[in-house]
């Protein structure tokens, strides 16, 4: 039975750097709306959202420094949601 906390301490500086990256991605995603990408506007917006999410998950939520199985579970959940959306689309795309 483990009582001990994992002792890995993330430096403040790391968090600041991650925030700056997040802000860069945020402003980039706003800037990219200036261009007419048609169907791909969703894709572009979502790519930035995914990059930001990965940063939040890995650093703010500590996944990078935790046991691997948390990351695996998280990846599994993402896969599940994406699969369910994809299969639902099999109905609407081909009606």
């Amino acid at each position: 039975m483990e009582n001990a906390q994992h002792t890995h301490i993330v430096k403040y500086k790391t968090f600041v750097v991650v925030l700056l990256l997040l802000l860069v991605f945020t402003f980039s995603s706003v800037a990219i709306t200036q261009y007419d990408l048609g169907v791909y506007s969703v894709t572009a917006a979502l790519i930035f959202a995914c990059l930001k999410s990965i940063l939040v998950l890995m650093y703010f939520m500590h996944l990078k420094f935790d046991k691997k199985f948390y990351t695996i579970m998280m990846a599994g959940i993402v896969l599940l949601i994406v699969s369910v959306i994809t299969i639902t689309f099999l109905d609407y795309l081909y009606r």
């Binding site: 403040y12 997040l22 930035f48 959202a49 999410s53 703010f60 948390y70 998280m74 959940i77 639902t88």
Partner: protein, 206 residues
């Protein structure tokens, strides 16, 4: 080891287990919002132009400001975990306090956004919306539902963090016993994650 002593039962402490449980709870929240994202994606696919037009009614500036607010608040609560590990109680409380203030700022922005829309007659069941295209009705229905549910989670998050601030103040949470602070931070990051997706899908599809 004989377990005849009830006090022994209360001594069972499992920080790793507490964290595991919190993560699983986070998965349930992701699935909860996931259901709304399923609905959003289908209706977006079926009504691309209407969604595009409706999104132009939203104010990108407030949306971006709110995104920045949440990202900064995510950083401050993450830092609060570091500061408690470094035995800096005062800094921990300051960082958590900033997180709460930023959350309240978010809610104030949201209040202005919503009341602005409502005063323009754009709300579920309104006359104006009734006369719009079906895609627009769906867009705003989803907008209010998703940002509303998200706002509810912000309120819950604020309450959770405020409670943990109290525990930090009374030193029930300290440098060698802080899993509840970590868990409240995880919850806050979840709220941030959801907004990271809501923002582009509602404000940036213009």
């Amino acid at each position: 080891m004989i377990m005849t002593d009830h006090a022994h039962i209360d001594e069972h402490r499992d920080d790793e287990g507490a964290k595991t449980g919190m993560w699983i709870f986070i998965f349930t929240e992701l699935l909860l919002f996931g259901g709304l994202f399923i609905v959003y994606s289908i209706y977006r696919y079926l009504n691309p132009m209407a969604f595009h037009l409706a999104a132009e009614e939203l104010d990108i500036f407030i949306g971006t400001a709110n995104t920045v607010i949440l990202l900064v608040s995510s950083m401050t609560i993450a830092m609060a975990v570091t500061s408690i590990q470094l035995k800096n109680k005062r800094l921990t409380l300051i960082l958590m306090g900033i997180t709460v203030c930023l959350a309240l700022a978010f809610m104030v922005n949201k209040y202005f956004e919503w009341s602005g829309k409502i005063s323009h007659g754009i709300f579920p069941g309104s006359e104006i919306l009734h006369q719009s295209s079906q895609g627009e009705i769906l867009f705003f229905g989803l907008y209010y539902a998703m940002t509303g549910l998200h706002a509810l989670h912000i309120i819950i998050g604020v309450a959770f963090i405020a409670y943990v601030m109290w525990l930090v103040k009374t030193e029930d949470v300290k440098h060698d016993d802080y899993v509840i602070l970590e868990n409240s931070a995880l919850y806050w990051h979840l709220v941030d994650l959801i907004w990271i997706f809501l923002f582009p899908l509602f404000y940036l599809i213009t």
